[in-house]
């Protein structure tokens, strides 16, 4: 600023002093003006900058760890926080033939021969198709050689020393448990959106930048799911069944702890054959592995409906005396004969009917109750609508609308004439054993005390009675193979012939076991279902549920019980003393 000072001149005399003072004043004013000008400029610049930042410039991007660690797609965990699906930074192996040609020398894309490179890759990835890779390397077409490469393998690929082998970092969806819970989780397709399972349901949530940092907890318990799939698979293989389905449901909250449908698919490596079938396969009744038999396929579930019919009869006041005997000889209703698989004597009471699974006696009970009453109970149990669960694939039941005829009600009583999903059955059984409250099933974890209120279908007294009857079936009846010692299992078998062209096919069955445990205070419902089981050595050449589905539950419950907090106790059981005298003829 001093550079602007006026030159000093020597003026003498009065005039000179005045002149000097005037000059000094002028200089001072000039300096003041200059300083003020600078201040104004700085202020104006600041104002302009502030306006610029406020209006034009985008907000400052906060580059922090949190952002770098934010997954591209949220994590899905089981109820205990074990990751079931996560965004996973993976390497891919990409062949880029132009990488070497970028210098413009027009040389070959590879330093070594394609055969040699393929052989070296084969040494790293033993499952590689060497011939196919050699062809691809020779053709000079860019493309993936492998979609997923482990970091240590990536280092070995770099060590080959070929520039054309690139290892781009790709964020991938990885399912650490592999094929387990594939139908529950679904998979992420190439477009980055979920398909089939909870990946599709939660797609928006999992992609939302504000929420995807927090993992979503499902109601699934990984250990229970693993045990269910393991037992179903071995049970299915031992009887050569074409498919199997299973579900474990919490009776008090409606949470699904495990849900399995076999055959399954691998969400880490989804093939087109996993999600679609050819016309020929479709005509033969073959479904794609991604098809969920628990929530999407409807079956006539057979005798497992008998306890529901009995519960409706007890609840409606139609059965007041369990010792009352009904005739057990075949009889005709509207041109159709109701018969049992084998003669069960002249008459049976209600507990005997359940223990021996008599269609005829069920018919009498339904007849007395009335078709409209049974229909109303079935409606209350949600049998006339799609099952309540988050999954997108939910099968609509085959349900007779309007008033039911007598024969329709009787056949529904023993599980024919209405086709529902195994999930429908599990929810209905949960309502039957938990004190009578029906609740929708859910795949999302329910916080303690947050269970939905549900709707009352049965009285608590009916439910208590049904718990005794279900336990009796497992102790004295067809469910004996499911009676895991100490776990107080109760349940009902069901073996239904599958409908085919022109009536029921006697050669193909659907065998189901619907159970609950522990019956003195039911906490979990287990449904195991086998599609078209065959008679094999493992099932003593029997095809009915008592020999294939019930043993699955019998082996499953001891595995999952302690994990779910149900410890076996040989000294505890539900009190059966008032019903025991009614079933004299059993051992």
């Amino acid at each position: 600023m001093t550079a602007y000072a006026a030159p000093h001149t020597i003026v003498t005399g009065q005039a000179g002093r005045v002149d000097h003072r005037r000059r000094a004043l002028l200089v001072a004013r000039l300096r003041l003006l200059l300083i003020a000008g600078v201040f104004v400029l700085v202020a104006a610049a600041a104002l302009v900058r502030i306006t610029w930042i406020g209006t034009v410039e985008s907000a400052p991007r906060e580059q922090s760890m949190a952002e770098a660690l934010l997954p591209l797609r949220g994590e899905i965990t089981d109820r205990n926080g074990v990751p079931l699906a996560r965004a996973f930074p993976a390497y891919a192996l990409w062949f880029n033939p132009s990488a070497m040609a970028e210098g413009g020398d027009g040389g070959p894309p590879l330093v070594k021969s394609p055969e040699q490179v393929a052989a070296e890759l084969k040494a790293i990835f033993p499952d590689l198709d060497q011939h196919e890779v050699t062809q691809q390397l020779r053709s000079g077409r860019a493309g993936y050689l492998r979609r997923r490469v482990l970091p240590e393998d990536a280092n070995r690929v770099i060590a080959i020393g070929e520039l054309a082998l690139e290892l781009p970092r790709e964020t991938d969806r990885h399912y650490p448990q592999g094929r387990m819970a594939a139908h529950v989780l679904g998979y992420v397709a190439a477009d980055g959106h979920g398909r089939v399972g909870m990946e599709a349901v939660l797609d928006e949530y999992l992609l939302d930048p504000a929420r995807r940092a927090d993992p979503v907890a499902l109601s699934i318990d990984m250990r229970v799911q693993g045990a269910l799939e393991d037992e179903l698979r071995s049970g299915m293989r031992s009887v050569n069944a074409v498919g199997a389905a299973g579900i474990v449901l919490d009776v008090d909250t409606g949470e699904v702890l495990a849900l399995a449908s076999l055959p399954e698919f691998d969400p880490n490596d989804v093939q087109s054959s996993d999600v679609r079938v050819t016309q020929e396969q479709y005509d033969r009744g073959i479904t794609a592995p991604a098809f969920n038999r628990v929530t999407n396929q409807v079956y006539e579930l057979g005798s497992t409906f008998k306890p529901l019919a009995v519960a409706a009869a007890i609840d409606s006041g139609s059965i007041t005396d369990l010792s009352r005997r009904y005739g057990a000889t075949p009889y005709e209703v509207q041109g159709r004969t109701i018969r049992d698989s084998h003669p069960l004597g002249a008459s049976l009471n209600t507990p005997e009917m359940l223990i021996h699974s008599s269609n005829i006696v069920t018919g009498h009970i339904v007849d007395e109750m009335g078709a409209a009453t049974l229909r109303q109970y079935m409606v209350d149990l949600g049998m006339n609508e799609r099952p309540y669960i988050e999954l997108p694939a939910r099968g609509f039941p085959i349900w007779q609308s309007g008033e039911w005829s007598r024969i329709r009600a009787i056949t529904v009583g023993y599980g024919h004439g209405v086709a529902v999903t195994p999930l429908h059955l599990a929810s209905a059984y949960a309502a039957m054993v938990n004190g009578g409250i029906w609740r929708p099933a859910t795949l999302q974890r329910v916080a303690p005390g947050q269970a939905p209120r549900g709707r009352r279908v049965f009285k608590a007294s009916t439910s208590a009675r049904m718990n005794q009857l279900l336990r009796m079936i497992a102790v004295y009846g067809t469910g004996r193979n499911a009676d895991a010692p100490g776990f107080r299992v109760g349940g009902k078998t069901g073996s239904a012939e599958k409908p085919g062209n022109g009536g029921y096919r006697q050669t193909s069955l659907v065998s189901t076991f619907a159970a609950a445990f522990p019956m003195d205070n039911p906490r979990y419902v287990v449904v195991a279902m086998l599609d078209e089981p065959q008679g094999t050595v493992a099932s003593s050449y029997q095809r009915t549920a008592a020999w294939n589905a019930a043993p699955i539950v019998g082996r499953l419950v001891p595995r999952i019980g302690p994990q779910l907090g149900v410890l076996p106790d040989a000294d505890r059981d539900i009190d059966l003393t008032d019903l025991r005298p009614l079933v004299g003829g059993v051992d």
């Binding site: 770098a68 930074p89 650490p176 990984m222 250990r223 693993g226 045990a227 001891p558």
Partner: protein, 180 residues
């Protein structure tokens, strides 16, 4: 311009220069710290990713399918039976009661004892220092083995993570002195 005003002017310049220099120093320091923070953050991110990678690999290798296969084929494990659960302290205590006169012989399992050809026990290496840990610490003994009068637990002591072998030996010695 007087001498005084010149001095004053130089003084102002010097003050300004000092301020600018200090400011530059501060600026450099701030930038250095910022760079450190960014580097540390990047390292954290990298470690977190590695952590996730390892965790995922571990989960994949120990998937339920794999465990079920091992249990079934390699180990033959089965779910515990009802009579294998203990529900009261009394039941637990009953296991300590002497064997009855006509009770069957308890099942004995094969094992190796020190008299046989034992393979050498692998040396434990500190995960932090990479050095083998002091064997005296692992053995839980005094250097000269005479000060320890009572040992509460059989077998090796807890291994100090920091690898401060000498400190742990000193502790053992003190414990030995205290228990005598």
């Amino acid at each position: 311009m007087t001498y005084q005003s010149r001095i004053r002017r130089i003084g102002w310049f010097a003050a300004l220069g000092t301020c600018i220099a200090l400011y530059a120093l501060l600026h450099l320091k701030v930038n250095a710290v910022h760079a450190d923070v960014v580097r540390a953050e990047r390292q954290i991110v990298r470690l977190e990713e590695q952590n996730m990678l390892l965790e995922t690999e571990f989960l994949t290798r120990s998937s339920q399918l794999q465990l079920a296969a091992w249990n079934r084929v390699d180990f033959g494990f089965e779910a515990p039976r009802a009579d294998q659960f203990i529900d009261s302290p009394m039941q637990l205590a009953s296991f300590g009661s002497p064997r009855g006169a006509d009770a069957p012989q308890p099942i004995r399992l094969a094992g190796m004892t020190s008299g046989e050809d034992l393979p050498e026990f692998p040396k434990l290496v500190s995960p932090l220092t990479g050095q083998p840990l002091d064997e005296r610490v692992l053995a839980g003994d005094e250097p000269d083995g005479r000060n320890v009068a009572v040992s509460l637990v059989a077998g090796p002591l807890r291994v100090p993570i920091a690898g401060a072998a000498e400190a742990a030996v000193a502790e053992v010695a003190m414990a030995g002195a205290a228990t005598r």
